[in-house]
Symmetry: C2
């Protein structure tokens, strides 16, 4: 009998996306620390839309046109911008109902790499349950694309991807075939009782800790704070949960 | 106080090697199923040297010159060759003392990518303990380069790399900084009591099982069958343990 279950798979880095992309209708872009968490926080706070751009120059052009524009590189706000990818900067009252432009080291790069997929959706621990339930009913092949850290594997994105795999596999409607998916699930299962403790040895967390971003990290590692489903359409993210 | 410990890190795929290569003096190339296991089995059986080549054409040229030459692609022996990367094919009596040429899908590709490193050594579960002890006394920064499966992450190479990390970290003389190294160690720790059971869901093992290679897999997943240390010098692997 043919196995009609859809696939849920994990790609560890944007660089490997080319080996996966042709087989998936939905790509979940994940950058837990901090771009996709900030995007979820922004929509939870009532931002109207977010335009992810790859370069600082593009963000600067939008800013010159009067847009609210943020830029982050190597964990810090880029000179000339007022905000980067801290989730807290997206909770400001004056952002409600606005269109915001954002460029980050890893997350917006991954969003742009995936932009030709049928559907691109933003994943983080913040919208984990809502996202999993939404993915479950789409009846599509799903790829979790981890943003990584400067083209390398990172633990926090992998664990978030593993959580999505674990949920969707448990429904019986999905299967995983790739070793990366199996590894992500194993890593999630060993991390799930204490993300913060598990990730304490993660290179990325250590890097952000040096920048005094512990509050951000705690926020980003706290699952299910919002039900937003940010989807990329025509170069713009909007929350389709409403 | 400056941390003077050397690094032991893990690169999951040959494609990511470029992000790592400049910081390591020793590269351990790992292709558990089956190229680096076959190489270890060959040296354990008294083969004099092995010339890893990237293409079938190169292997064919050597064969035309009278060399013993093997070629594998997608798990199977390439037409026109007598052997591929099954460890059992390297245990033949007529291979003792001989120079053998080999090309494989993943393993010899990884060896060639790493060839400009100061030292390139072959790792597998078969020579795990001997290799770890040898690495411990070199006092160098070490990168485990997993061959992966067709440019993607695989579990068995990662677990072997994780075993090397775990050993070297336990000596107190090494540190790991990359999330890939931390993940490899976690995956090894959850797999170490039963490699065969752990990898039963691995895509690669399933693929090889379809080719009736269960005996090969059992052999490759049985640690510490030999003390060989195959090192690449001037395009040729020899066992420097003797």
């Amino acid at each position: 009998m043919m196995d009609t279950r859809k696939h849920i798979e994990v790609c560890f880095t944007p660089g490997e996306y080319e080996y996966f992309k042709d087989e998936f209708e939905i790509v979940v872009v994940i950058d837990v620390l901090r771009a996709t968490s900030a995007i979820c926080a922004g929509f939870a706070n009532g931002i109207k839309s977010i335009i992810p751009v790859s370069t600082i120059e593009e963000a600067m052009e939008y800013k010159a046109k009067g847009y609210l524009a943020g830029a982050e590189r190597k964990g810090q706000i880029v000179e000339g911008f007022d905000f980067g990818n801290s989730p807290y900067s997206y909770m400001r009252d004056d952002f409600k109902g606005k269109e915001v432009v954002l460029t980050t080291t890893n997350g917006t790069k991954a969003l742009n790499i995936a932009k030709d997929a049928e559907t691109v959706v933003v994943g983080s621990l913040l919208n984990l349950d809502a996202l999993c339930k939404w993915l479950e009913v789409q009846d599509k092949n799903i790829l979790c694309l981890c943003s990584g850290w400067q083209d390398k594997f990172n633990l926090e994105d992998t664990i978030c991807a593993g959580a999505i795999c674990e949920y969707l596999l448990s429904t019986g409607k999905f299967q995983s075939d790739e070793d990366s998916s199996i590894a992500a699930k194993y890593l999630f299962l060993s991390a799930k009782d204490n993300y913060f403790g598990y990730l304490k040895s993660s290179s990325h967390r250590r890097r952000l800790k040096n920048l005094n971003l512990n509050e951000d990290i705690k926020y980003c590692l706290t699952p299910n704070q919002t039900d937003v489903i940010p989807v990329l359409r025509d170069g713009k993210l909007t929350d389709i949960s409403k």
